[in-house]
Amino acid sequence: MNWSVFEGLLSGVNKYSTAFGRIWLSLVFIFRLLVYVVAAERVWSDDHKDFDCNTRQPGCTNVCFDHFFPVSHIRLWALQLILVTCPSLLVIMHVAYREAKAQQHRAARGESYRSRFPHPGKKRGGLWWTYLFSLVVKAGVDVVFLYIFYRFYRNYSLPRLVKCQLPPCPNIVDCFISRPTEKTIFTVFMVVTTCICVVLSLVEAAYLIGKRCRERCRAGTGESRQHSHDCAEPAMGGQVFHGVGYKAPTASIPTASIPTASVPTDSIPTASVPTDSIPTASVPTAPIPTASIPTTSIPTTLPEQEKTPL
């Protein structure tokens, strides 16, 4: 299981999304997942190995690294990308459920059976609510992760130097983070794309609600009753609707634009999230005297360096 299999699962959702949903999916695949796989992972590949503390005391480096990086950015982003794309799977499952039910009824009652939902992929009835719920969950997950990042890494930035006083470190030792500027740049990039995705999800939710209200108003005033064939109200009991009626134009990206075939994984590096590397939330209390734990990392004020190339 890796990103390409996951991507194959999700590309099917394109068919049932609005234009905003397709833009959102493209944004996630290209500006978040692709950037994560081809660039960000390399930057964090040596984060523990090159975390250097100015001491020879064994264990000091490990303890300080664990204190300042409870969960690495890379693992948080992997979790975030998985959780934020999962609600789309709900939509796919709901459509598959509708299609299965229609097939069952057709088998039981013969070909003349007119389905309640002649087009299972149209967002009517329960599927509308599922889709709206998935949008809200996506936006919610992104906001939660933005908050988690903010709590762990103030201002979404990483300093070059942190001072650490945890046992077994003998005194306040300087510890140096590897590639802090590059990591800050990528963190800010991912934060910005996450914010854009949140805005898109909220706009899409507003669009769906607005469209539904408009249809209800039209149906209510009787202005275009001939267009509202496909209002499938669950409260109407076993009433059967047929015909397609009004279809709102939506932009459609050809499904071939989001690749469905799995890519050969041996030549191209892919990421898999090792589930055992995600640290638990337990914080050691007894062995560490609270008075000596610095709660903020002190950004260094480095003297001006001269660049004197040869």
């Binding site: 991507e7 833009i23 500027t181 740049i185 134009p249 932009a251 634009s257 360096q305």
Partner: protein, 279 residues
Amino acid sequence: MNWAGLYAVLSGVNRHSTAIGRIWLSVIFIFRIMVLVVAAESVWGDEKSAFTCNTQQPGCNSVCYDHFFPISHIRLWALQLILVTTPALLVAMHVAYQQHQEKKLLVMTGHGDAKHLEEVKKHKMRIAGSLWWTYVCSVVFRLLFEAVFMYLFYMIYPGYQMVRLVKCEAYPCPNTVDCFVSRPTEKTIFTVFMLVTSSVCIVLNMAELVYLVVRACARRGHHNSNPSSAKGSFYGHKLSSEYKQNEINQLLTEQDGSLKDMLRRNPSLQEKGDRCSAC
């Protein structure tokens, strides 16, 4: 998602591009992305581990590396390639939207069989009207991103050159220490190569822009002088022999207004000359 996935996404756009656009896409994938993945990444693979400073002071290496290489060439090129190729998706979305509208029209006018719908998918879209503007915008954005990244490279790494030795005095280095960059000559060669291909891509984009503008103006001039030689769109040929304009308009008054706008713009159904919205 990786570079192969991006290639799959973008190769669909190829069909609706101009000839220069296709050359540009080939240059991007072969001379930039492929070179980045198979060669450049291995050159920069040990950039941090082999960056050595003449000191045993812990942390001096890290700090000096971070000072002289705020962001690695490889990451900058990856971001540049992603940003430069994504405007093509605007064109893909617009084409998909137009194809959707054409299919709707075919279904409405009774030509909604599988063969006609497949033809809509397969035929090449003419770059005219609003698609022309979308295409031009995408080329302008590509140019802009290329220029911005070339400027960024110049700011971060002046002279586009990688030096062998840098002198560093950042805390905690005890004094001015010598730090040695790994494979500076190889890195300089690849930097110059990527710079040259980037310039070639800029030239191709500018040529494409000029070509689009000249073609649009030529088309307008031709149709102004000869209004009866309007070429219809795909569905115009199919429909104009069977339906009068007022019948189509009648169908359209019952449907979405956007379709009406589209047909009003379509030259064959209006029996007017092809209108170039560009000039």
